[in-house]
Symmetry: C2
Subunit: 252 residues, 2 copies
């Protein structure tokens, strides 16, 4: 059985003139994640008015590329994306995975160029938030300004978590941590915390965690043998959440 992260484009029959990806912020089921603001409803309308929605990205299409002129940040509406940098010797470093309700592109603010590339891991819809409009709106809406400071700060603390993981933890611990992270992000979106489909390949996982594909694969096999989780290709079922926590051995 498959848990779908995405729900874009499924509702055409019911709402023939309004695609799902065009839903306004006020009625978007993700708004508690994306904008957990004490916003007045006309504040939401103002924000809504600057947001641009376009048709979904197909799998492996780029949302932006490293070096592109920075114009907007993006909120994921459905599907999943990865962000990655290319090192000068041509290798790739995956810097993050982004699920519905999460914001990406903030690394482009510092010098008006995207510092990483973003690519759809599966069909994905995003909301584009033009940054100059966001800045102007932030000036007149203190809660929005604060919200964006907080979002960026959270990105910093999450990167620091990853730094710690890479610097201090074994292959087992790294993979277990990622599974827990995906699990908790799922439950935040009211999806199953114990059963989900990984949108990314083993290569991407390894790349993100500083491991080779082979090692990731071996860790999954080991976890399966220990009956911590059931792995069927990209389908994951967590059988023993405590065991997984144990294996991760980090404050998630």
């Amino acid at each position: 059985m498959t848990i779908r992260l995405a729900d874009a484009g499924d509702n055409n029959v019911l709402k023939p003139c309004l695609h799902d990806y065009q839903v306004s912020c006020g009625s978007c089921r993700l708004n508690s994640i994306c904008l957990p603001l004490a916003l007045e409803s006309d504040d939401i309308e103002q924000l809504d008015s600057i947001i641009q929605r376009s048709k979904p990205l197909q799998k492996s299409q780029h949302l932006y590329r490293e070096g592109d002129h920075f114009k907007s940040v993006f909120a994921v509406r459905s599907g999943a994306l990865k962000a990655y940098k290319t090192t000068d010797d041509g290798r790739e470093q995956v810097t993050g995975f982004y699920f519905p309700g999460e914001i990406l592109g903030m690394d482009g603010i510092s010098n008006n160029l995207h510092a990483s590339s973003a690519k759809a891991l599966e069909t994905a819809a995003v909301c584009e938030i033009p940054f100059t409009s966001l800045e102007k709106l932030s000036s007149i809406m203190p809660s929005l300004q604060r919200h964006f400071f907080q979002l960026m700060s959270r990105e910093i603390t999450e990167d620091q978590q990853l730094i710690t993981l890479l610097s201090k933890n074994s292959a087992d611990e790294r993979v277990a941590s990622l599974m827990l992270s995906i699990s908790s992000r799922n439950s935040r979106r009211k999806l199953s915390a114990t059963q989900f489909r990984l949108p990314m390949s083993r290569v991407d996982i390894g790349n993100y965690l500083g491991l080779t594909v082979e090692t990731v694969s071996r860790v999954f096999s080991r976890m399966q043998k220990l009956e911590i989780l059931r792995v069927d290709n990209k389908e994951i079922k967590i059988l023993d959440p405590n065991g997984l926590q144990n294996m991760a051995n980090v404050a998630g």
Copy 2:
């Protein structure tokens, strides 16, 4: 011969009533690094008015601790600090080193608690910037708002650099990269790019780079044998900048 990063407290004789650490932003020699803003001089005065200066921290004193209530971000005026997190099994992860002109504490914004601790590596003076004042001022000074968005974004991209370093590079490459980073940050502050004193211990370096002390020490010995640099305890002299670039093998 010793290159001093710090200059706090040396000028008492010349200016008996105004300690060096009390210099205003307008006349601070670091303001081009700390606030590279197109600020009008009365804008600078406004910013200046919210900034609090206190007497220098002694070596190994804390500026703030993980879990402390977040109130302010800090600009380093002199000396050097490290930021670090303690993992739940009691180990330490150094997440950054901060030199004069650099800003720290931004990881506390996301949930009003400092996500890491900050400790002086040597005598250090800092400027405290209360965050609520900064937010208010940002609302009425668009260039300041932008500046802080950019600062936070830079922190994100720098963390991503470190993630890549930890995930993809050898011990030699990591240490070489750190030396280049310190070198370029020095030259930005108009100090020697080729000769400096490391304010942090080998343990801290190893911790930051995900290596053991022994490995760091061995890398330094190797670099010395290859005549890339001369190491005399904490004194570093870069003899062959190209060789060092080569060894680092990363886009600095």
